[in-house]
Every structure is written in C-alpha cells, then in structure tokens.
Amino acid sequence: MSIDLLVLLVLALIAVGAALGMLFSRNTVYSVLFLVLVMLTLAVLYLILGAPFVALAQVTVYAGAIMVLFLFAVMILGPQKLAGAGGPIGWQRPVAFGLTLLFLVEVVYAFAAKVGKLGALSCAEAGFGSPAAIGDLLFNRYLLPFEVTSVLLLVAAVGAVVLTRE
Amino acid sequence: MDFLMNPLNLMTFFPLVGVAIILLIPRERKDAIRWVAVVTSLVSFFISLWMLSMFHAQNPNFQMVYDKIWMKTGGFEIHYAMGVDGLSILLVLLTTLLTPISIFSAWTAIEDRVKEFTIAFLVMEVGMLGVFLALDLFTFFVFWEFSLVPMYFIIGIWGGPRRTYSAIKFMLYTMVGSVLMLLAILWLGLSQGTFYLPDLLAKGVNLPLHLQSWLFLAFALAFAIKVPMWPLHSWLPDAHVEAPTAGSVILAGVLLKMGTYGFLRFNLSLFPQASVKYAVPIAVLAIIGIIYGAMVAYAQKDFKKLVAYTSVSHLGFVMLGLFALNPLGIEGGILQMINHGLSTGALFLIVGVIYERTHTRDLNAFGGLWKIMPIYGAFSIVVALSSMGLPGLNGFIGEFTILLGAFKSPVLGPVFTIFAATGIILAAVYILVMLQKVFMGPVKEKNLGLKDLNWREITVFAVLTLFIFWIGLHPAPFFNLMGPSVEKLAHGLQAAAVAMH
C-alpha cells in the first residue's frame, strides 16, 4: 500500500465520517461544522491532486465564506431541534433510505463491473495548478463564462438583499 | 388585384366585406345589421350565379383555378389554390343559397348580440366556401378547421339550455377526426412531394395498398364524424337541438355535406384501390345509419331531435350512393346532398317557426296545427313529403338514383339495396307520425291563438319549395352539371375495381 494510497484512505474516511455526521447530527450547528470539516479534507485532497489554487479557493471561498454564511443563517433562524421522525409524510423517510441504498448498490456495482482502470495521477510539471496557468486559461478560453458568472453573482447579491427586505 | 378578379376568391371572401360594414354599424341598429348581412350573402349568391354562368359543364377538370405559392417551408411550397369542378359546383351554390335564407330566417329569432351573430354567420360562409373550393390539402385543412369556429360560437352563445355542452362536444368530436386527417395530409404531402391536389390526381398516389389504406382510413374517420356515419353520430342530436334555428339550418344544410364532399374529393379520388377495398364496410355502416336513424327518429319526443336523426338516415343514403362506386350512385349521392340541404334545412325552419311561437319542441304539445295555420301546414306537408322521397319531389330523384346505383354497383349489390330500400318505408313512418302529431288531430286550447306564417317566413319557404319542385320535376340541369366530373371519377374507380378483383 503506497503512502499516497494510505493518505487518500485516511482523508476519505474523515470526509465520509464528517458527511455522515452532518447527516445524522440533531444539532444544526454540529452539521455545519461537520460540513466545514468535509470541505477542508477536500482541500487537502486538491493539494494532493496538484490543484493548489483550487484548494486554497476551496478553503477561503467555500469553507470560509459560504459556511460562515450558513452559520449566520443558523444563528438567525435559531438552532431548534426538529422533533419527531417523519412529520406529515412519514412514509418518505424509509422509502428515501431504501432508494439511496439501492443507488449505492448500483454505484458500487458500476465501479466494480463497468469502470475500467483509469490512469494514475500524472502530477506532471510544476506549476500545473498554479494561479498563473489557471488565470491564463480562465481569461482566454473561458472569458465568456467568467463574465456570465459575474453577472450571476451580481444578481444573486441583489436578489438576496431584495428578498430579505421588510 | 388579380386575387379578387378570380370569381372563386371574390365569392369566397365577399362576405368579409359585409363583416366590415357590420362592424361599423352601432349595435342597437339591429335591423340595419340584419339587412347588411342578408344583402351581402345575397350578393355572394349572385356572384356564385355569375361563376355558374362561366362554368362550362362539359369540362370534367377543375375550372377557374387560382393557384399561388402561399409559403415555402423546408423545401416545400404550400399552395393557396382554389378551383371548382362538377363535384363541388352544386355544393357551392347550395352554400350561397342557404346562407342568406338562414340569416333571413333568424330575423326575429335572434335578439341579443345580433352583430356578433351576423358576423359569425358571414365568416362561416367564407369557411364553408373555402372548404368546397380548396384544391390544396393544406388550404383545405385551414378552411376545414376555420369553418368550425363560427359554428361553435353560434351553438355556444345563441343556443338552447345545454348549449355549452353540445358546442364543446361538437367541436371536440370534429377536432379528434381532423387531427388524424392532418397526420394523413402531412404523410401524404411528404411522401408525394406536394400538397397540390391536381398534381396528386394527375400523378396518382403511388403508395402500396396497405399504406394507402391507412391514409384512406385517417381521412375516412375525419369525414365519417362529420357526415355523421352511424357510430360517430352522437354529437349531431345535441348540436342540432341546442343550436338556434338558423344554426341548425346551416349545420344540416352545409356543414354535414363537408363530410360527404370530403369522401368524394379525397377518399374516392385519391385512393381508388382503398375505396374499393373499404366500399362494403362503409356501405354496411351507411345502411345501419339509414335504418338506425329512421328508427331512433321515430322514437323521439323532441321535434328537433327527430329531424336531427332524419339527417343521419338521409346521409346514410348519400354515403351508400358514393360508395356504390359507379356514376349512377355518385350522381345520386351528390344530388341527394343538395336535396338533403334543401328539405332538412326547410324542416329545421319548420321547427324554428313553431318553436318561436310556442317555445317548446315537445311533439305532444302540438296538434291540429294544420287547422289554425293552413299556410304553415301546406308548406310543412310539401317539405315533409320531399324529405320522405315522394316521387315528383326532389328527395325521390336522389334516393332512386342512389338505390339504382347501389343495385348495379360492381362492389355492392341487390342485398344492399333491399336493406337500404326499407329505409324508404321507415322514412314514411316517422315523417307521417310526425305530421300526425304536429299537424293533425284536435287542436289544443293553448295553440288556438297561434298566428300563421308572416311574409318573411313565406318567402323563405317559397324559395325552398320552388327548388324542391324544380329538382323533382326537371333535375336534368343538375345532373348535367356534375355528369362529366363524376364520369371521370367513376372511371378511375372502375379501373381500380377491375384491378382489385
């Protein structure tokens, strides 16, 4: 078992554990924190995969900004615990679990039978995921999507403000 | 400007001139509106007479053809084409004759929203004329759907108590059929490369028989609903009972003929082999229609429903005539379409007259009307006898030629004629019982004060009776008009019949 594999396994376990934690934790704050943990482990993984800029973006934007926003939301809405299991449509939960398990089985089967051996990581030349390379690509080939997403963010910001106005 | 120089276009779209004028007249001036409507449709009638004068009867092909490219889509030119030949000339004249009559007869019957009523009627005349004159499958379909809309409003707005139900039923029922027809038109057009009828007829539809059968059946369903043929007729009684008198006259007089005309123009002309193949089943349905229509008519309590079911019976005769696939049967069929338009139109006017006075259509409420309304009685007897097929009147000429055609038909035979001929006895039964219930027997007190026909109603009935006697005593001009075209059509069918056996 090579070192990389071991590291990957550990990170994977942490990520999955945190995700399950988020899923089952009663207290909303705990689930926010678990999600932050998942994001951080992913950031580390991105580093391994030669995408430093993405990893840092992940940490700052995702973990930092969005999750903080979530915390604000939780604080505003109050972290009351929702009692009871099913609520009005009780049958929903068991059916959902059943279907997700079925989906899991199918994915596992897919990986086992269908997906062939993909290539190993190439970790090619240095500067592969460096900001310079990404910036060059971003502003040449992907200029249009870049502008569009900026508009999207603007709209989202305005929308958020308008929606929450009294 | 050459668009309006063509007599067919001028005639078809002239009612729109009336519509324009009516739009300008204020709503309160009802009589002015009515006069404009009647005059416009009369002018349209005179234009159709002018067209008749230019129509030379020996030429079996399409005449006065007006053909323009309407639109180019996907490598296809959709033509706007209008033309008339022996098969459609009489129906066009019937339309232009019946429209002024029905508008004129609705003088006192329609009081509210007269403006919209007259506009709906004139627009419908455009639609109907378009259907009979269109030479392009696409134009035909446009006019076919277009003519439904005004009739929907006429039944839906000015109709009787259950008008919305029957208007919607009428609309949906016909639409179901025409959807299939649209598919068939598209399939036919795409497979043959053109929608232009003369080209299709000249070239002949080169499709294997089983494909031809599918196209035939799709067209047949749409037209069978419109005719209406036996199992698909349940919209007719509701539509007739709920429609105002003028609406019923036009519905029975012209709209039903669009179905039989469709069979004639598309099913028989384009798919001879399939026609021969399906002649017997359709003839059987027609005969069921004749006998079934007559029996159900006899059992009706409502005067208008009785007359509605008679239409099922009469048009059963027409269908039998058409699918006898020989010149005699087809000529009889076409003439019977005209006769049915005249006599059933008149029958509905008779129902309208008595409904206007007594506001009831229950047969048992009447009795002895011949004693207190002699002129009304006289006209009704003549019209009833004509629809019963009394020799010397128009009904007999049509029925005799049809039954004779069916008897000598290559596909049908004596057995069909025997069953169809029983229809004549059953027709006598329900007509005479109707006459007995309405016009004979002692007069009921509440009917004593009824006034006889006024001059307006008398002119309407006089015109119709004139035609009833004319076709009855001297039908030669009508037969000569359609002779060559029917000969050409029958020739194609004969060849197919021989090829099939």
Binding site: L23, L49, V61, Y62, L69, L99, A120, I134, L138 | -
Partner: protein, 100 residues
C-alpha cells in the same frame, strides 16, 4: 499509486450521502448543506479528472461550480429567512400549500 477510481468512488459516496441528506432531513438548512456537499463531491470528480488528464479545464469548472454554489446559497438563505419570518419554523413540510 493512487488511481482516479478511488477518487471517483469517494466522490460518489459523498454525493450519495448528500442525496440522502436532501431526501431525509426536514430541516431546510441541513438540506441546503446536503446540496453543498453534493456540489463538493462533483468538484472532487472534476479535480480528479483534471489531474488525470493534465488539463486545467477541470479546475476552471470547479471555479464556476463554486460561483454557482455561492449564488445559490445566497438566494436560498434569503428565501429561507423570509419564510422563517412568517412560518416561525424551518421545517420544510410546513410549506405544502402549492398542491395539485
């Protein structure tokens, strides 16, 4: 040596957990977080393939996913706050007026 399969497997598992979260939980916030989780799983797959093919496009995609996620969270939480003002509860099941 680390195969992309394993990374994809991890991404799939995370994705399924996200889906389970959306379907099971009744708290609107947790549902949002489950959706974020699903997006992250997708990002992971992107980066994994970017690494394997040595093409930076995958990483660019991650950025776009991030912006969309950000916009979505902003608007989503705004909506949630307005709903909270009237409903006084975060439970998703209270919102069932719009029905067939």
């Amino acid at each position: 040596m680390v195969l992309t399969n394993y990374l994809l497997a991890l991404s799939a598992v995370l994705f399924i957990i996200g889906v389970a979260g959306v379907l099971v939980r009744r708290n609107a916030l947790v549902i949002y977080m489950a959706i974020e989780l699903m997006l992250n799983a997708a990002n992971l797959a992107f980066v994994a393939f970017a690494a394997e093919f040595g093409a930076l496009d995958g990483q660019i995609a991650v950025f776009f996913v991030m912006t969309v996620a950000a916009a979505e969270v902003a608007v989503g939480l705004a909506i949630l706050v307005t709903i909270f003002r009237t409903r006084k509860s975060v439970d998703i099941d209270t919102l069932h007026r719009l029905k067939g």
